[in-house]
C-alpha cells in the first residue's frame, strides 16, 4: 500500500465529503442515484468478502479459510460482538490448519 495511494484516496474522499455541504443549495440528487450509491458500497464489500474468503487471488483458497469466514459470518448473523466475529473466524481457520486441513 503506497503512501501516494493512501493520500489520493484521502483527498478524493475529502472532496466527496466537502462537495455535499458546498453544493446543497444548488444540487438535488434523484432518489435513484442516492439508492445506487448506497447499494454500490454493499456490492463492493460483499464482492471482496467473496473473493478473499474463497480464493487466494487466482484459485480456490482452501477449506480452512472458507470455513473460518463462514463461522465468522454466522457469529455476525447471531449478533455476536465484532471482536468475537473476528476471533472465531481466525481461530476456526487456524485450528483447521493446525489439524492439517488446507
Amino acid at each position: 500500500m503506497p503512501v501516494t495511494a493512501v493520500l489520493i484516496l484521502a483527498a478524493g474522499t475529502f472532496a466527496i465529503r466537502l462537495a455535499g455541504p458546498l453544493l446543497r443549495d444548488r444540487v438535488t440528487l434523484p432518489e435513484k442515484v442516492n439508492d445506487l450509491m448506497t447499494a454500490s458500497a454493499t456490492v463492493l464489500l460483499l464482492a471482496l468478502v467473496a473473493v478473499s474468503a474463497l480464493t487466494n487471488g487466482k484459485q480456490f483458497g482452501g477449506w480452512a479459510l472458507a470455513a473460518g469466514v463462514v463461522v465468522g459470518g454466522l457469529a455476525a448473523w447471531r449478533k455476536l460482538p465484532f471482536v468475537a466475529v473476528i476471533v472465531l473466524a481466525a481461530a476456526t481457520t487456524a485450528g483447521l490448519r493446525f489439524f492439517g486441513v488446507a
Binding site: 495511494a5 447499494a39 456490492v43 464482492a47 459470518g73 455476525a76 473476528i86
Partner: protein, 206 residues
C-alpha cells in the same frame, strides 16, 4: 474495537504499523480502509484499491447534501466538519429535529468517533506486530469475516442483497482470469439487477 481490528489485520497482512494509522487519520472511512488494504493484500494494484475506495465513499455525497447545513457555515467548520462526515455522525444528526441539537449531535458524535477510531487503530496496529505468520493465526479469515460483519445489516434489504450476490458471483467467476482487484470492481455490474421496490406511499389524497 473495529478500529483495533483494522489495525491488527492490516499489520498482519504485511503493512508497517504506521500505515493503518495514517490511513485512519487522513481517510477516516472504515469500509474503504478495509477495502483498500484487502485489495492490496490480495495482490491487487493500488489503483484498483483507490478506485474501489472512492466508489465506496461516494455515498458520503448524498449524506453531505442531506445534512450539510448542520456543519455550520464558516469555511473552517465546513472543512473540519466534512472530514467527520461518516455514517454514524450523519445518522445522529438526522435523528434530531431541532437544528441546534442536530449540530451538537453531529459534532459530538464525529469528534468522539474520530478519537476512538484512531486510538483503536493505533493500539491494534501495535498489538498486531506481535503476531507472527498471519496464515498460522488465521488472519486471512479474520479480514473477510470483519467485512462480512460490516456488510450484513445492509443485506437485509432485498434489492441490495440481490445486487450484492450477483456482484459477488461476477467477481468470483472472473477472479481466475483477471488481475487481483479488477474482479471486485466488476462486481458493480451487479447493480444492473438493483431494483428498489416502490415503497407503498400513502398520499393524503387517496
Amino acid at each position: 474495537m473495529t478500529g483495533a481490528s483494522f489495525g491488527a489485520i492490516s499489520v498482519g497482512s504485511g503493512l508497517p504499523w504506521w500505515m493503518p494509522v495514517l490511513m485512519s487519520l487522513v481517510i477516516f472511512a472504515g469500509g474503504s480502509q478495509f477495502m483498500a488494504v484487502g485489495i492490496v493484500a490480495a495482490g491487487g494494484s493500488p489503483a484498483a484499491a483507490v478506485v474501489a475506495g472512492l466508489v465506496l465513499n461516494a455515498r458520503h455525497l448524498p449524506f453531505g447534501l442531506a445534512i450539510g447545513d448542520v456543519l455550520g457555515r464558516s469555511p473552517l467548520a465546513r472543512i473540519v466538519g466534512s472530514h467527520l462526515l461518516i455514517d454514524e455522525s450523519t445518522a445522529f444528526a438526522m435523528s434530531q429535529k431541532d437544528p441546534a441539537r442536530a449540530r451538537a449531535a453531529y459534532w459530538a458524535c464525529g469528534v468522539s468517533l474520530f478519537f476512538c477510531w484512531n486510538i483503536g487503530v493505533l493500539v491494534g496496529a501495535l498489538a498486531g506486530q506481535a503476531i507472527g505468520d498471519p496464515a498460522t493465526f488465521g488472519l486471512d479469515a479474520a479480514f473477510p469475516a470483519a467485512m462480512l460483519a460490516l456488510t450484513l445489516p445492509a443485506l437485509k434489504d432485498a434489492a441490495t442483497r440481490n445486487a450484492a450476490l450477483t456482484g459477488a458471483a461476477i467477481a468470483l467467476a472472473t477472479t481466475p482470469f483477471l488481475p487481483a482487484g479488477v474482479p471486485v470492481l466488476l462486481a458493480l455490474a451487479g447493480l444492473l439487477v438493483f431494483k428498489k421496490k416502490e415503497a407503498p406511499c400513502p398520499s393524503p389524497q387517496s
